[in-house]
């Protein structure tokens, strides 16, 4: 008896699995029906990252005309508290709880204001929001996409040396978020290890629009809409920019992201 036969023995009297299609369909519709926390992002937009990703440097800059930033200043703490509430409201899983991870021991660490904890039942994930503005140093910016409910990754999520980031979708396995820089049509976005699409025309348009010569400038409302960010995520972006939390880039333990530009 070889190992295959042994394993066959172990499942020999396993009763037949009830048809899962109805339940699968129900779960799928429930997830897609809830308000989507769409998290398509670029270095011109907003990235939800996790784990080993850190903001390289906080970027504070006077707003430009048309930027999606309100006029009155907002404290970083207020931003964090608001963002936690917004995330709580738009998260696809209604029973989830989103809280800001307050770090009183290091008040000067600005990245703490973009760090949240998400609890779904017994599961806990770390949620790190990274806000990008357009930048002369990243005229062809980081492109990444996180599907609506694939935006949360456990803290052991890492950025790979090739610039990919592995993220885990709660309850539905692992998705691969592919990060690419370069001229169109070299932008590519992958998920689950399968190349799927080139950048959409609207995204390419946004990327072209954002190839500005000035250093990080908050994106306009129109640009955020082009990136298909939900209303809640647009509000988080606007308030983050207002609070001076735009970052010029992110670095992982593996490699700087984004890589050099053409």
């Amino acid at each position: 008896m070889d190992l295959h036969e042994l394993m066959s023995t172990a499942v020999a009297d396993l009763p037949e699995l009830p048809d899962q299609l109805a339940e699968v369909d129900r779960i799928h519709h429930r997830r897609t029906a809830t308000k989507r926390a769409v998290l398509i992002s670029a270095s011109t937009a907003l990235v939800l990252g996790v784990g080993t990703l850190t903001i390289a440097s906080p970027w504070e800059r006077p707003q430009s005309a048309g930027a999606a930033v309100a006029s009155s200043p907002l404290s970083k703490q207020q931003f964090a508290e608001n963002a936690a509430q917004i995330l709580q409201g738009i998260w696809p899983v209604q029973s989830a709880r989103v809280v800001w991870v307050r770090q009183t021991s290091d008040p000067g660490n600005t990245s703490q204001y973009t760090l949240f904890k998400l609890e779904e039942g017994s599961n806990t994930w770390q949620l790190h929001i990274i806000l990008y503005g357009s930048s002369a140093t990243t005229p062809y910016p980081l492109v990444t996409t996180l599907p609506s409910d694939c935006a949360v990754a456990p803290t052991d999520c890492v950025a790979n040396a090739d610039g990919t980031i592995r993220a885990y979708a709660p309850g539905s396995g692992m998705s691969l978020v592919y990060v690419s820089t370069g001229n169109y049509p070299l932008y590519s976005i992958s998920a689950d290890g399968f190349p799927i699409i080139l950048a959409t025309p609207s995204l390419v348009n946004t990327l072209n629009l954002s190839s500005s010569v000035t250093e990080p400038t908050p994106l306009t409302s129109d640009q955020l809409k082009q990136l298909a960010l939900s209303d809640g995520m647009q509000q988080i972006y606007a308030e983050g920019a207002q609070a001076g939390l735009l970052a010029e880039g992110i670095y992982s333990t593996a490699t700087p992201i984004p890589s050099t530009n053409p």
């Binding site: 190992l3 172990a10 020999a12 009297d13 699995l17 048809d19 897609t32 399968f194």
Partner: protein
């Protein structure tokens, strides 16, 4: 629901269930794993259907859900308790497909850490090659070879001398 997905899911869910059961040793959890994998597959169906090997895609989804599933500890504790409630003297199981043998095999598999266990199941239950196993788990072929080798030795120890042919493969 896409008809192609429905047809694929109906055709493959039993096999995925058996694989999931070998991975976790618990029927309810195996059902959860299959369900989660199918939900993920449905979500990405438009591109998944283009995969060269859709079976491998679905199988990999099950394994990855298993490896990333965070609630396993509580259920593992339950299955461990069940396993330990069985007579412990029958570690060298007989060759007939008795409940004791089934439990012994499952118990032995559960002695392996999750990833090596997944490797063993992909290699010896799904009959994947080393290369395919490495691709499914996102690790190197060398890692698959070494982990499987160690796991085989451990299984031999756990299952007894009647299964020495395991390591001869």
């Amino acid at each position: 629901m896409d008809e192609d997905f429905a047809a694929f899911a109906r055709e493959r869910q039993q096999q995925l269930y058996r694989t999931a059961y070998l991975l976790c040793g618990n029927r309810e959890r195996a059902q959860d794993l299959v369900q989660s994998a199918l939900v993920g597959l449905l979500k990405s169906w438009s591109r998944a259907r283009e995969a060269d090997n859709l079976d491998a895609y679905a199988r990999t989804a099950v394994v990855r859900v298993f490896l990333s599933e965070r609630r396993k500890l509580r259920r593992e504790a339950e299955i461990q308790a069940l396993a330990h409630s069985r007579p412990t003297t029958d570690q060298t199981a007989s060759h007939d497909a008795s409940p004791e043998l089934r439990l012994t095999i499952l118990q032995a598999l559960r002695q392996l850490p999750p990833k090596p266990r997944a490797m063993m199941i992909l290699r010896y239950w799904e009959d994947l090659t080393i290369e395919q196993t490495a691709a499914a788990l996102g690790c190197s072929e060398g890692n698959v070879k070494s982990q499987c080798s160690r796991s085989l030795v451990k299984l031999r120890t756990l299952l007894g001398d009647q299964f020495t042919e395991l390591v001869a493969r």
